[in-house]
């Protein structure tokens, strides 16, 4: 499988501060990658380096097998991105902004193509409004439109959910999946909403303190991960005794009155619920953190 | 007669005035050459109009400088009004080989604008070869006249007017000449002489000029 992105030992220093310290990772073509890291981990600097906005101090960046330093023009024709937040010329309307994008990408759009694009991102009917009148969510949608205007093979999205309403988040999720599955686009998605990443991405890269912490298939990475489960049952001797005598007793890490903290794998949770209910234990509450969140916090020592 | 005329300024002036009276009006083509300190101006062609007693105009396309006390206009007017002045001969001088009497004209009235008029009048053929007119408001203006074909009408072919002008000073801030270095100036000399030369040809005399010709803007 060809790599859409390859970073080899890439570093970036700003004066004395090392923002990225020998980072290396690959993004395979055709996958949806989650790009994760805590604030200040070097995530944004890395994305900017991939898009040629920041020049690395050392190391090599390749996209589609070509060196970014030497083949920027060809590479950029195949990449679309939203970095940080989509910014537009507020004194122009949405269509005029997209026309500038299309022209800068060397393509000519027909009215029909514009209509389709505005329809796709949910801005149909607002294309002639000045962008300065747009809400953040609408700008985010327009940002997606400018990302897609030249039909790139690789799409880099930095926090694309920011400002979107719940319906917008669902629409975006569906759009990303459609672009990947139906049009074969490779997507690198940076997001703080880890449940979203877990739901959409099939691979992920986690960086921390400017270094790559882990990268790989999401399912593989999380397969051996346990969850921190909080269980509240009815406060009767029978219920508490049932839990203590079950196989789950060994997973209890903390308890107070009828509230128990357990470490379980994800597929143990349904069995726990059915076992306890069958034995007459009333479950008042059960909740657990997202598995990826758990994993993320663990590997980044947060 | 000639000897008497030499000694008597009034006789010389009287002869001269008779010639002045021959001309009621005239027009001529004029070429003006300017040499005025602080002013750069190309030569200019125009047309001169004169009508007695003292209507005078130079019509030309563009900007030009003329002395406020223009000798072309003033000399005849001044000399013809014999009741307004007294005249004395203050000496003799040869100009261009012509022997001239220097006649001083002193106004009789103290309120007169004229302070002193000095005329170099040809003794043999009374014509004003040179003049120096000093007025209260406009300083001294000197003119030198050269005559040929229209000498009988006292109309010169060339007049050279010399005027004393103050040194022209423009503050650098006002001229906005940042790219110019101010030249060293001779501050001891506050006055300089400006010259205007007028070459006159194609005289047309006594053609009954209309007054309208002398109104600016009318043809």
């Amino acid at each position: 499988m060809q790599q859409a992105i390859q970073l080899n030992n890439v570093s970036k220093e700003f004066n004395d501060f090392k923002a990225v310290d020998g980072i290396s990772f690959e993004v395979n073509e055709g996958d949806i990658y989650g790009f994760l890291g805590p604030n200040g981990s070097g995530k944004s600097t890395s994305l900017r380096m991939i898009m040629g906005l920041i020049k690395p101090t050392s190391g090599e960046i390749k996209l589609f097998g070509l060196s970014l330093a030497d083949h920027r023009r060809e590479i950029m024709q195949k990449v679309g991105c939203i970095i940080e937040k989509p910014d537009f010329y507020g004194y122009l309307n949405a269509k005029e902004n997209l026309t500038l994008c299309a022209r800068a990408s060397g393509i000519k759009y027909t009215q029909g193509q514009y209509n389709d694009l505005f329809q796709l991102v949910g801005l149909a009917g607002r294309e002639h409004d000045k962008v300065k009148t747009y809400s953040h969510g609408m700008k985010q949608r327009l940002g997606l439109a400018q990302t897609l205007i030249h039909d790139p093979s690789l799409i880099i999205l930095d926090e694309p959910n920011t400002g979107l309403d719940p319906q917008g988040i669902i629409d975006l999720r569906n759009l990303i999946l459609t672009l990947n599955k139906e049009r074969g686009k490779t997507i690198l998605l940076s997001s703080h909403i880890l449940s979203e990443v877990q739901e959409i991405c099939n691979a992920m890269i986690v960086i921390n303190k400017g270094k790559t912490v882990v990268q790989g298939n999401v399912a593989d990475l999380l397969s051996h991960e346990t969850l921190h489960v909080t269980l509240e049952i009815n406060n009767t001797p029978h219920s508490i005794n049932t839990l203590h005598t079950s196989i789950y007793n060994q997973h209890i890490i903390k308890e107070s009155d009828q509230i128990f903290q357990l470490m379980l794998s994800k597929n143990q949770i349904p069995t726990l619920i059915s076992t306890l209910t069958q034995q007459g234990v009333e479950i008042m509450r059960i909740d657990y953190r997202n598995q990826l969140e758990e994993y993320f916090l663990k590997i980044t020592n947060a | 007669m000639q000897l008497q005329a030499q000694e008597n300024p009034k006789a010389l002036i009287s002869t001269l005035n008779r010639k002045f009276n021959l001309v009621q009006d005239y027009t001529a083509d004029v070429k003006m050459v300017f040499d005025i300190p602080g002013v750069k101006m190309n030569n200019m062609n125009g047309k001169v109009f004169f009508k007695r007693p003292n209507k005078f105009r130079i019509k030309a396309k563009g900007i030009f400088f003329m002395p406020k006390q223009n000798p072309m206009q003033n000399i005849s007017t001044l000399l013809l009004d014999t009741s307004a002045y007294t005249s004395v001969i203050s000496g003799y001088e040869t100009i261009d080989g012509r022997s001239c009497a220097i006649i001083n004209i002193i106004p009789l009235k103290t309120e007169s604008e004229l302070i002193l008029g000095k005329f170099w009048i040809d003794k043999l053929d009374p014509l004003v070869r040179k003049s120096q007119i000093t007025t209260k408001n406009n300083g001294t203006i000197e003119s030198s006249n050269t005559y040929s074909s229209n000498a009988a009408y006292t109309l010169p072919d060339q007049i050279v007017i010399k005027v004393e002008v103050n040194k022209f000073k423009v503050p650098k801030m006002m001229s906005v000449d940042l790219n110019k270095k101010s030249k060293e100036k001779d501050l001891s000399k506050q006055k300089e002489t400006g010259t205007i030369r007028m070459d006159l040809v194609n005289y047309k005399i006594n053609t009954k000029l209309q007054d309208a010709v002398f109104v600016e803007g009318k043809e």
Partner: protein
């Protein structure tokens, strides 16, 4: 259209659509109409302020207050304002987009940074040209329409020079070209500062500060200033006035043109060099 042409077209489009571009046009219209109105009513008195040194002795005859003189005065008056108007737009070309974030929008497309900065610089020159064209129409043509034509009595530190009306059109042509070259230096300087700085106000203020300081240095005839004066671009920005001298100091003008062009090349080269190495962190 593709490549550089497309980028240039984008930049020109943005330049003519930006609200701040119109400030320059409005200011020029206002200043020209204001001066023309003032000269229409009180022109004779203003003129005699200049010519009073001669008027004790001479009558100045002919139409002194004509379209050529008004144009000359307007051009001279705008020597301070025009660079400000040019800097207002060109000082914001790169830094404004850096600050607003739209620079990311530009730099993540296939055009190279050199193409982008050149397109921005050219659009700045185009705007400068539009300003000058408006000034030319207002100062020269409208003034001629109001005041008529005539010889130009121009004032410089050595006195008055009268340029005949039939010998003036070519002088206006060249003087507007030199004025364009002078303002192009300002546009190039503003573009350079705009590449270096990340907010839109600082380059504009810096350009004006440089012009004011250099202009003050140029105004004083001090030996220490005289050494550096020939190399300050502001010294040569009024080289257009030399065209209204008689005879025209051709060598002086060519020297000024040379100095102005060296400045343009220098400022543009620094802009391209710096912009290519700039990290976009905003």
């Amino acid at each position: 259209m593709g490549g550089f042409g497309a980028i240039l077209k984008n930049e020109l489009y943005k330049t003519i659509r930006r609200p701040r571009s119109f400030i320059g046009f409005v200011v020029i219209l206002f200043i020209c109409l204001m001066l023309q109105g003032a000269f229409y009513h009180d022109g004779k008195e203003l003129i005699s302020f200049v010519t009073q040194q001669f008027e004790s002795v001479f009558n100045i005859q002919g139409n002194v207050l004509n379209g050529n003189l008004i144009c000359f005065i307007i051009l001279q008056t705008l020597i301070v304002q025009m660079p400000l108007l040019v800097a207002l737009v060109t000082g914001d070309l790169v830094s404004g987009e850096t600050a607003s974030g739209t620079l990311r929008f530009l730099l993540t497309r296939s055009a190279s940074r050199t193409q982008i900065v050149l397109a921005k610089w050219l659009s700045g020159l185009f705007y400068t040209l539009l300003l000058l064209l408006l000034l030319g129409i207002m100062a020269l043509f409208v003034s001629h329409w109001i005041f008529g034509s005539g010889d130009l009595m121009s004032l410089n530190s050595e006195g008055l020079t009268v340029i005949r009306a039939d010998d003036i059109n070519w002088r206006w042509g060249y003087s507007f070209l030199i004025a364009f070259l002078s303002l192009s230096v300002v546009a190039s300087l503003a573009t350079m500062l705009s590449c270096i700085m990340d907010n839109s106000i600082t380059p504009i203020v810096t350009v004006m500060a440089i012009i004011i300081i250099f202009t003050i240095v140029g105004m004083f005839d001090l030996p220490s200033f005289d050494v550096i004066k020939p190399f300050l671009f502001t010294t040569h920005m009024i080289a257009w006035k030399n065209l209204f001298e008689d005879p025209v100091p051709v060598n002086d003008i060519l020297f000024s043109v040379g100095i102005l062009m060296v400045h343009i090349v220098l400022f543009l080269s620094i802009s391209v060099y710096y912009f290519n190495r700039k990290d976009i962190t905003t």
